[in-house]
Amino acid sequence: MMEKQAVSWVVERHEEIEALINRYPERRSAVLPLLHLAQEARGYLATEDVEAVAELVGMTPSEVTGIVSFYSLLHRQPRGRYTLTLCQNLPCVLAGAEALAQHLRQRLGIAPGETTPDGLLTLEETHECLAACDGAPVVQVNLEYATHMTPEKVDRLLEALRAASQEAAAPDGEEDDAGGL
């Protein structure tokens, strides 16, 4: 068997990992926190991350793959800096989410599931309710909600996100969402 190269986050964040594992009576309970940690480190979960987590918690890569695929917030592919998730459930559709979807696809020139070539935005459409029907139609930007969206407001949102990312291009670029919109 080939000796495997250690994944960088496993080495760099060794203490954090130990603390996470020790938090639970069973090693395998730490699988989700560790996956989040790995995703934070790389931006998505590469095959080697899945294998590293599996080894850390004493599971097989298959079992960890099953878990990763269950959760829609764990990604196996590189993502844009921001993920726009457009709700396509009934209340949002009634409030105009379908037109919004058309608009977003056109503005970004990508289909749902794809990422813009500049790596800034990933577009997602979900049929599962985002649980914010009072603000329909809803667009989720990473973990925050933007409510009562219209094509114009979407355009402004995109502007804001572009601007934020340019700011972040400065050396101490911080993690920023589209808060305030």
Partner: protein, 816 residues
Amino acid sequence: MSGERVSLTIDGRAVQVPPGTLVLDAARQAGVEIPVFCSHDQLDPVAVCRICLVEVEGSRKLVPACSERVREGMVVRTDTPQVAEARKSVLEFLLINHPLDCPVCDKGGECDLQDLTYQYGPALSRLADAKMRKPKAVDLGPFIVLDEERCILCRRCTRFDHQVAQERTLVVGQRAHEALITTAEGVPYASVFSGNTIELCPVGALTSKFYRFRARPWDLVRVDEICHGCPVGCHIQLHFRANVEGARLERVVSRPFEPIDDGWLCDRGRFNYGFVQSPERIAQPLVRPLGAPRGTLVPTSWEEAFRRVVGRLQEVLATQGPQGVGFIGGGRLTNEEAYLLQRLARQVVGTENVDHRVAGEAAASLDVAPGRITDLDRAAVILVVGAHPGQSAPVVDLRIRRAAARQGALLLTLGPVDPELRVPHQFLPAAPGHLADRLEALAQSLAGGGEGVPPRVAQELHEREGLLVALWDGREAAAGRALAAFLQTWQAQGREARLLVVGDQANSRGAEAAGLRPDLLPGYRLAADPEARRQAGLAPEPAAPGLSTQAMLEHAVAGRLGFLYLVGANLVETFPDRALATAALESEAFVVVQDLFLTETARLADVVLPAAPFTARAGHLTNLEGRVQATGPRSTDPAAGLPVEAWTDGQIFEHLGEALQGRPLVAGAGELATALAAAGLGSGTFAGALPVALLHEASDGSPTPSGSGEGLVAAPLPTIHGGGGTSRFDRAYGERRPLAAVVYLNPEDAQRWGVVPGDRVGLEAGDGVVEAEVQVTRRVMAGVLGVPRGVPGLAWNRLTGAGRVRVRGRLLEEVG
């Protein structure tokens, strides 16, 4: 059955069952049928399919019968409108995205979903939208194609992989309607037990690559058989399809028999069946024309072939006497055929030179604490000595995995290479030729001493109460003696011990019991015992002591053995000393080979007799625990469609016997059955075992590595998908499981010899160089080279026959 009982009524029928019984099983006992998909006798309940919902008085909702345990006074109803409605709804739900492509589905006709829908389901679906599309033919592993659309997510396959095989490769991925059976990225489902999932699948989602579209269930003629792949003796069923050309063996399925296989089969047993109808089978007897060099063979008739064999045999008898004749082989024969062969040798030819051991093993059984396969279920300690159960007795390995992982048995392995067990265990390295030393230390540790035994192991061995089951591969006579002593020490401490010996071939134990050893008559009676000889109708004194396989080959090389008869024995590939085997076959001796294929050995023969495969014969096999099991009836030789004139091994022996002595070898089937029963091989009984006293070095075929200093000692490793015959000549099977010429090194040795994993190296042994790729693993102890047996292109027995092996460094990659 003892102890308390729980009374309950199911559909008005009173039934009493032990506490903890599932409602489903109680209903079965009461004669009430409850439909199931996800539930399976051998798997833990999971209650995901919901088809088994029943009404229980006092419960507001319907409960799944497959996971609900019985309670005293429980009242269960399965015949109410609510239950009928629930079943109908569950089926309608399961069928929403099921493609209903039954006419093209392999399972159509034997499908649980089809049957239960017919019985309980709605006639029409209310779904107006198009069904969801998923990939139709996904390659899940070497033998399995997954149809994701058909899967109903019962999780039988993943639960088998987790709970029974303990491998945890197959999982359910995704969520909800997108859920599917999968593995980790880039990891095929290549378990040795993968084929079982095909049978477990209640729908046609998991299909066999070989059986795909070959037949429909109603086409098949079903014949019960015993698997001939290894000495476990699993119960199987052969499914033939008759067509214009004749019968074709289309698939092998299990025939659950709890004392042995629990309904599981390994992939070798399940998928390596194509050889019986291989176009590479020898079609006609072949002879070497007079004066032609070895390797030249021309087809001839059976009459001519027999004339050559008998003529030459009589010549050798006249010049060299019976000592100049030797018979080797028999581990693949039935008990009956093995008996006929030894009778042909001893009574007709008058020689004691018979041996079934073709791969350097010392014994196929041992009369110390004889065990049964089921003993593993209640073992507190399992000690694996030299054996690689996952490769040479896979279905037994499932029991070991279960005992270690789920019943907390202490699992110890002892030998030069740690077998690939999927469960936690302790490896006690022991160099080839020194297993006995290690076992002696282990025995001493039971009494408190024992140098070199890890303290934790010594303590565990000291403290564990209960049964110890040892598994030995029958190699190294000294190891056998030491193991016997160890087991006796264990027993002397008031603890139970059992021993299982994993023979090299499917019927090694039957061949041994039938007297295919130079020192034994049938029934484990000593060949030197005048009384036993008299009863067997032999002269009280053998003309000369019988020769073992090794001695016969040496005599042939020395010109003292002029006639060598090999039965289903590819010595060039299986005998630990390839140089000796080849030299013997190339000597002046007249060599007769009886086999299905033109193996390396058969190519060097003077006469080759085409044998028929196991399907064409009836008889008995003796498995590794000594159980004498009837094989299937004499069904058919599927090569009948090909121009093959094969005879069964037994027919050939009978014909030869009659040609030599002018009367039949045995008077009839009755006499044969009586003789076998007298030898302890009566149908349904358990055979005797080899006396420890016969484990002497002269009978030891494993060469002890000579010399010291620089160099590695080669340790042969059994390979489940490899071998000298059936797997090699089964094209389709070989393509699915390609065997790489790989040897295994300990990391320390790799460093010392300057090789890294993946290097191609030259291995110098004796006079030759063997090329192979190196893999580095801690499973191999330092100073040992793990060499897989039966891999085409890797002559393992050139490395084991000639002392220490030197690694000649990296071979330069050829630059294209």
